[in-house]
């Protein structure tokens, strides 16, 4: 049978996969939200942009919900520490996720220019702030947060808003914007698509700049982020692949292969998720006070029995999840069109 330690490791990996799935799938939803007011002119184009993610965003958000539930079940102490420690940030994230959901749902339900402008703004702001907050949270986890011996968070909001997490927030936001713009390019045609194509270049350069800055900042500010690479040198292939995936985005767009470009932005997200996991492993939450106060996959894990049961649940459930997610994406493939059931 699988040992207790192996179970904890498997759940660390599964949580990484859930988070990665969320970042890829909801990443383009958030990116679409960020681009919405800039690339879409007029009501029809705005509706096209919204409906490009119309049938999908809700299912994509479930990846985050399931990540939360799985973290709760597999590493309850990490869940409790992070969620209570990042109290204000998580409540703001909730407000954004609610704002995004209702903006999509309500915008086109009433014939009024002002009504629609308000929800357009709601869609944009909530997508932008949600992306920032997700990045800031990731930045804090990499850089470490003050933890007491009882694993309680010992800081306040100011300890979370300093330059490094903010830089990671900007990186995340620009990455989602890039990912979303390539997605939108795939889903649209004509004048709207042309305007999106023109937007991709500046977004790419902003992202590339942030990518460089955060890479250097991490090496300087978070020296232990590369510790695991010293033990396992073959892991250096990940940052190399990351760089190649980044460079491949403009190449694929130049070659007029947007599907390939979308694959590349997705791979950039996968590479970041891998780097993030390798940087913190075996910790879940790194303590910036005493090293032994850190929450690791060993001291935060659930019982062996629960991790085993959950693995069965995941094993039974995930094939279903992937198959009907695939079916839904297949049914709504191709360019976005408006019909009387659209937003």
């Amino acid at each position: 049978m699988i040992s207790y330690d192996a179970l904890a490791f498997i759940w660390f990996v599964l949580l990484g996969i859930l988070l990665c799935g969320y970042a890829i799938l909801d990443g383009f939803d958030l990116g679409v939200g960020i681009l919405h007011p800039w690339v879409a002119k007029g009501d029809r184009q705005r509706r096209l942009v919204m409906n490009s993610i119309g049938p999908l965003w809700d299912g994509n958000e479930v990846w985050l919900v399931t990540f939360g539930g799985a973290l709760f079940a597999a590493f309850p102490d990490a869940y409790a520490t992070v969620f209570s420690g990042f109290y204000i940030a998580f409540h703001l994230l909730l407000v954004c996720l609610i704002g995004r959901a209702v903006s999509l749902e309500f915008r086109s339900k009433v014939h009024s220019v002002i009504w629609r402008k308000i929800w357009d703004a709601g869609f944009f702001v909530s997508s932008l702030v949600a992306s920032m907050l997700l990045g800031i949270a990731a930045g804090n986890v990499i850089a470490g947060v003050p933890l007491e011996p009882g694993y309680e968070y010992a800081g306040d909001l100011r300890d979370q808003l300093w330059w490094y997490p903010l830089m990671v927030g900007l990186l995340t936001t620009s990455l989602f914007a890039l990912h979303g713009s390539v997605y939108l390019y795939l889903k649209t045609e004509g004048e709207l698509q042309e305007r999106i194509r023109r937007a991709i270049t500046p977004i790419f350069f902003i992202f590339a700049g942030m990518y460089g800055i955060v890479t250097v900042a991490t090496l300087v500010q978070v020296p232990w982020a590369t510790d695991n690479f010293a033990h396992l040198p073959w892991l250096w292939i990940v940052p190399v692949l990351n760089l190649l995936a980044v460079l491949n985005v403009p190449r694929a767009m130049y070659l007029k292969r947007p599907g390939y470009a979308f694959f590349s932005t997705s791979m950039v997200i996968v590479a970041f998720a891998l780097l993030f996991s390798v940087a913190i492993f075996p910790n879940l939450v790194i303590s910036s006070l005493e090293k032994e106060n850190s929450l690791t996959i060993l001291n935060a894990r659930s019982s062996e029995k629960t991790l085993g049961i959950m693995l069965i649940v995941a094993g039974v459930g995930l094939p279903f999840v992937l198959s009907y997610t695939g079916v839904v994406y297949w049914i709504f493939r191709g360019k976005v069109e408006l019909d009387k059931h659209s937003y």
Binding site: K41, G42, D43, R44, R47, P55, D58, G59, E61, V65, T66, G68, G69, A70, F72, A73, A74, P76, D77, Y79, A80, V82, F83, Y87, I88, H91, L94, V95, I98, A101, F106, K109, V110, H111, V113, R116, P149, G150, E152, N299, S302, S303, K305, T306, I309, M310, G317, L318, F320, V321, Y324, T325, V328, I331, F332, L338, K340, H341, S342, Y343
Partner: protein
Amino acid sequence: MDVEILSRLQFAGTIMFHYIFPPLSIGLGLQLFLNELAFVLTKKSAWEAAARFWTKIFAVNFAMGVATGIVMEFEFGTNWAAYSRFVGDVFGSALAAEGIFAFFLESGFLAILVFGWERVSSKVHLLSTLMVFLGSAFSAVWIVVANSWQQTPAGYHIVWHDVHGEMRPRAEITDFWAMVFNPSSVDRLTHTLLGALVLGAFFVASVSAFYLLKKRHQDVAKCCLSIAVPTALIATILSGITGHDSAQKLVETQPAKLAAMEAHFESSDEGTGLFVFGWPDAEAGEVHLGLRLPGMLSWLVYGETDCPVPGLDQIPEEDRPPVLIPFLMFHVMVGLGTAMILLAIAASWSWFRGTLEKRRWLLWLLVVSPVGAMVANQAGWITAETGRQPWIVYPSVQDGVEMMGLRTSEGLSETVTAQQVLSSIILFGILYALLFAVWVFVLNHKIQVGPESLEPQDQQKPRDDQKLLERISHGGAPYGGSLMEDSQ
């Protein structure tokens, strides 16, 4: 105010607001599925118009349920960190199962249900509708299992962990199925689901009755009523039965809750009476203006009028729940439940006799009935949750071994301050008030516009509606319709 009371208020407020939507989604989901099934079987266009109409209502409601539901999942961690550490091993697995089995199912097929009308065949669409309904019901399964475990824990033991010298208790699973089928989960789950089906049935009956009263969309309204009224009848009666089962078991599992619900302060050797109404005063230990039927509570619990039911005096003072709220909410729920059974019987009888359309008073009662169903659903949950106090996880006995419980006051987040909770309450208070107003506005708008079908009776409609209908008949839809490229 301290963190505990603020956190409890926050949880109560956000969960009650959230719970407006899921029961309506579940209940409406069944009506939607049955309407669509009728369409696939009969090919009658009125059924299709009905199914498409309810889909739009469903979509708005579902989005609100999803949006407000994530808040709940986060709040366990943000406000109740100590509780999360204590129960994560047990409660977390139910929550994760909910995500994997229920949320993905409903959100995936929701896409086809809402946006797939012109993209898939009617049978595939029907299947998607069924999956969305099942998904929403499954999510109720897992969350009610988790909540029932807090009320009547089973299949676990307490393990003490050394956290840097401090010993901390944690509930850990020993038997997964015993945890899932804990003593109250089946009764509470069936009662919760039936409450949702009652709400959905009365909601559909309400809108349909409104159309009949206003002589609009009468074909569609009659179709909908022919399913909603019998559903309401069956579901209200079953709801009464399951509610009785639930309450009856309390005498063994949570006697303090039962005593609080019935304001039964003092035990005696004789049969225990039942208050039909009254205003309990916990400090004085009596009920003002109460009407008590002698021996009735004993009869309901044990089937004998002279068998005494234990009162609150048998519970140590520090373990007693509040009395006023559980008592009032329980009586509101039972009162409304009884009224709904009577209404469902009256409506079914008139429907069967074909006289429902002429009985305008009965139609008007149906119009307001969802409010009663909603209040009853909420009141039932308030009874269950306030009656559980002062415990967040009840203590229990497993295989003869006493297991510690967790008090609500011990479940809080140590690191969170009252100020933080208060600011979040204000933030969500404003947001939810706005959302509620928008939801009511959009719902009303959709109901006023109604299903997309032109009927001869529609000529009496006011001019505005007539214009909207003309627009529909020319191909553009009022929902999500284009603003004619306004801001070019």
